[in-house]
């Protein structure tokens, strides 16, 4: 039996199960007990109400540092909003930031520090999946709830544990398969893929091809590029002449060279170009030399450039994080944010707040109740807590699902041309974490 519960502060609709209801009842009982305490005891309790400590595993150094800077800003902005609104269960939120060096071994050490040294209630953060995969087992051993913002399909694949959740950002598998309907219906049925020749490229190859075929399309060529390649023109003649859509997911320092050479090769007369904004995240899209991007399509988790129908929640989010209508810092138009992804930090923190409130979270002994409260969540309506849009959380796989955006570069601006349904991005469950013991 479930009871819908809507929190007006964050608009999050959770279904409180028996367990979380127990949590809520115990909070209530705590409140009654507190009211019956003598005045001096209540005063003492209020004085010792410590902040809720959230260990923030941030890529401050190493290859993820550029992301870390904006993830940090988004996190600080979300915490400010939460604290200005009274905190969580009446307690302020304190962020304890530790650098994980974008390194899995270091990441595990940091998780351990959160639990044993800094007395953190939970761990949060981290983008690069190898750090998440390196850290999650330690979080599980230490029974520290670990909320990740990495997009990795590793959470829903079942390879992690009950303490690791990804409730604030969709995973790469759902992003890729959600692209297929638009590609085949709008851009063309004959698709050629260009991808780097290693695991990341294979994820796209292996997820997109079946999805395209299910839509009646066909992947007619798969061109794998060696990871250390920095010159690409020699690969382009391998693109079949009847290609209607070129799906590219190149990454690394040579990605601008790739885009430039692709543009020079086709001279604006080739197939439709479709890519993921990841490769150009934080890069000014109308930079000189990137003119070839005009009229090409990109996946965006959240639309960097302000759209005509932007929701008031997103407008408020932009202001809170400090970015302008082009996704750049308010005081430096060249400092373009990692806008397509960083909302994940904001939304995750609001899920943590909602979860702690539903569980009546008071301290580390309530960690399991917190996990159960988040597992019980389903619909997350669009709100200031979820400015990217409404979402559905799957408590069994610990993964959230949401809308994806496809934008076209028009006059140097990313204009959204399609927003996928949540159903487009759903795939069968591979795990039920709720059956695993705490």
């Amino acid at each position: 039996m479930t009871t819908p519960k809507t929190d007006p502060a964050n608009g999050l609709k959770a279904r409180v199960t028996g367990t979380t209801r127990r949590g809520a009842l115990s909070t209530l009982a705590g409140g009654v007990a507190a009211a019956s305490l003598p005045m001096w005891a209540r005063y003492t309790h209020a004085q010792t109400a410590e902040p809720i400590k959230i260990g923030f595993q941030v890529h401050r150094t190493g290859i993820g540092a550029a992301y870390g800077r904006w993830y940090d800003r988004t996190t600080q902005a979300a915490v400010k909003l939460i604290n200005d609104g009274g905190g969580i269960n009446g307690r302020m939120v304190e962020i304890v930031a530790e650098d994980d060096g974008t390194d899995p071994k270091r990441g595990a050490e940091v998780v351990e520090k959160f639990a044993n040294q800094h007395g953190c209630d939970i761990g949060f953060g981290t983008l690069f999946s190898h750090v998440v995969i390196g850290s999650a087992p330690r979080a599980g051993e230490l029974k520290l709830p670990y909320f990740v913002v990495s997009e990795g399909t590793h959470v829903s694949s079942g390879m992690l544990n009950r303490y690791t959740l990804q409730p604030g950002i969709t995973d790469v598998r759902s992003q890729v398969i959600a692209m297929a309907p638009f590609i085949t219906e709008t851009l063309g049925k004959k698709v050629t893929m260009i991808f780097p020749d290693y695991g990341f490229g294979y994820d796209h190859r292996d997820n997109l091809a079946p999805a395209i075929e299910a839509q009646g399309g066909e992947v007619i060529a798969k061109i794998a590029i060696p990871p250390s390649e920095t010159s690409f023109t020699k690969y382009f003649p391998r693109i079949p002449r009847d290609t209607e859509v070129l799906y590219h997911v190149m990454v690394g320092p040579a990605v601008l060279t790739f885009v430039k050479e692709l543009g020079e090769f086709f001279g604006g007369r080739g197939p439709a170009l479709f890519g993921f904004i990841d490769s150009l995240e934080a890069v000014t899209i109308n930079s000189p030399g990137l003119e070839f991007l005009e009229n090409t399509y990109f996946w965006e988790g959240m639309c960097r450039h302000q759209q005509s129908d932007e929701s008031p929640h997103e407008t408020a989010y932009r202001a809170a994080v400090g970015v302008d209508g082009r996704g750049a810092a308010l005081n430096d138009g060249r400092d373009v944010s990692t806008y397509a992804h960083m909302f994940g930090c904001w939304e995750t923190l609001h899920v943590i707040k909602a979860g702690m409130e539903a569980a009546g979270y008071r301290g580390p002994k309530d960690r399991a109740a917190l996990i159960e409260a988040v597992e019980a969540m389903t619909d997350m309506p669009e709100s200031l807590a979820h400015p990217q849009g409404d979402k559905v959380f799957n408590g069994k796989t610990h993964q959230v699902f949401g809308h994806q955006n496809i934008s076209r570069v028009e006059g140097g601006k990313l204009v959204r041309v399609h927003r996928t349904s949540i159903e487009d991005s759903v795939y069968p469950d591979a795990v039920d974490y709720t059956t695993r013991p705490f």
Binding site: I63, A66, A97, H130, A254, A329, R334, V336
Partner: protein, 455 residues
């Protein structure tokens, strides 16, 4: 998995262990760097050619300093300054232990890696001997001496020479290049605190000779002092073309000569270890860097190998030159004579390598200062690295620095060769292999700035 490669263009951007920065690498790859590299190599080659035809005394004249005002240094001034620095260092170490865990906020990593390692070392090499005033041991040493009234009980063993400093510097470079988290405030506090204490013990036991020969940072700073514009000459301040103090300075011993080469070798490897080439060599996908903890041993071995290779090639060039010129000077003497000429290149690498880091990480320092002083919040931006214009300016500044370092090194080596008194023909012939080495190293240095990086 996608997220490994998620950062796209950012993946290759670290020029330091501190804070990687945004997408300038992608824009660097769009620059015609091949042309710039050839131009840089030609500049050094033309310098060599000009030296063969220009008047003999030209280089000596070029490096003759202009003498300025007389200086009467009062040692108590700098002892007080040094004591103040020691107190600040103590505070920083304490903050490292109990302060914020974020290395972008904690003042210890910011002070050690940005203010000291990038800023002060560059200032020492470019401007003049600031370390004399900022050395955090000498003031405490003087105070101990004054309070106890006793001199250092032991004599520094002469046979140790500069070798303790050589080991110390290799240890420092190993920490910088191979430790998984050199910016972790707690870890850094422990290492800095212990090192400071150990070196103070050395100073107390062996006196100032310990500082001058065994303490790696002081030896490094005193070496870079010789490259600076401003120095002292016969009781007066003097200013001259960078490197003039190398020609007017005392002869260099073997340990110090090796130390000079390690400064360049370690600095160069600090670029090599991030390149696609190096990662390929290790069998690591450069788009999927597994983190520093996975490359600790390769980085340590690479550091040693790079330094050994540099010493071998440098020695080979000197030996070959002497043979070509028909000279009889033995290699150790040549090595000690010419090793200091490498210092301008080492400094140029240091400045060029850390320039972008300094521009970004310096803002974290300003932000920390602004917060401490309750001033308006500083917005840390890497925006200038996301546009092609500033990236080109920064790259050319780095390349120009590297080329200038090599040109000065060539001029210094030529001036030293002319002093041997065997005539220009023999000097030019004897310098030919070293000149070829310098041209090659210029090309290598510019390639390092241009090549894609993945760590």
């Amino acid at each position: 998995m996608r997220v490994i490669g998620l950062s796209g263009v950012f993946l290759a951007l670290t020029t330091t262990v501190l804070w990687a920065h945004a997408s300038e690498q992608g824009f660097v790859l769009l620059l015609p760097t091949d042309i710039y590299i050839v131009a840089g190599g030609l500049t050094v080659l033309i310098t060599v050619a000009l030296l063969a035809v220009l008047p003999d005394r030209l280089t000596d004249a070029l490096f003759r300093p202009a003498r300025l005002t007389a200086v009467r240094p009062r040692s108590w001034h700098r002892h007080i300054m040094s004591l103040a620095v020691a107190i600040v260092l103590g505070w920083l170490v304490w903050r490292g232990v109990v302060g914020p865990r974020d290395p972008g906020v904690n003042p210890l990593p910011l002070s050690v890696w940005v203010v000291f390692w990038i800023g002060l070392v560059s200032l020492q090499g470019l401007l003049g001997d600031v370390w004399r005033w900022l050395n955090p041991w000498t003031g405490v040493g003087a105070l101990l001496h004054r309070v106890t009234g006793s001199r250092a009980p032991l004599r520094y063993p002469r046979r140790l020479g500069y070798w303790p400093a050589v080991l110390g510097f290799l240890g420092f470079s190993g920490f910088l290049l191979a430790d998984p988290a050199p910016s972790d405030p707690g870890r850094l506090a422990l290492i800095i605190g212990l090192y400071w204490y150990a070196m103070l013990a050395g100073l107390a036991l062996f006196g100032p000779a310990w500082m001058a020969r065994a303490e790696a940072i002081t030896v490094l700073m005193r070496a870079y002092r010789h490259v600076a514009l401003v120095g002292r000459m016969r009781g007066r301040l003097a200013i001259g073309v960078p490197g003039w103090q190398i020609l007017s300075g005392p002869a260099t011993g073997t340990g110090l000569a090796v130390f000079c080469l390690l400064m360049l070798g370690s600095g160069s490897f600090d670029g090599v270890n991030e390149t696609f080439l190096w990662l390929d060599l290790l069998g690591i996908n450069p788009l999927e860097f597994p983190g520093r903890s996975a490359v600790i041993l390769p980085n340590l071995l690479g550091l040693l190998a790079a330094n050994a290779a540099l010493i071998a090639v440098f020695s080979g060039a000197l030996a070959l030159g002497e043979r070509l010129a028909g000279g009889t000077t033995r290699l150790p003497a040549l090595f000690c004579l010419y090793a200091p000429t490498i210092l301008p290149i080492a400094l140029a690498y240091h400045v060029a390598h850390y320039l972008t880091s300094f521009l970004v990480d310096g803002q974290y320092v300003l932000r920390a200062l602004a917060r401490a002083l309750n001033l308006a919040e500083v917005h840390v931006t890497a925006g200038f690295l996301n546009s092609p214009g500033p990236v080109k300016v920064i790259w050319l500044a780095q390349a120009g620095t590297v080329v200038a370092g090599h040109v000065i090194a060539i001029l210094l080596a030529h001036a030293l060769a002319m002093r041997s008194g065997h005539g220009r023909g023999r000097a030019v012939l004897g310098q030919a292999p070293l000149a070829a080495f310098m041209v090659g190293y210029t090309v290598f240095g510019l390639w390092l700035l241009a090549t894609p990086r993945g760590a």
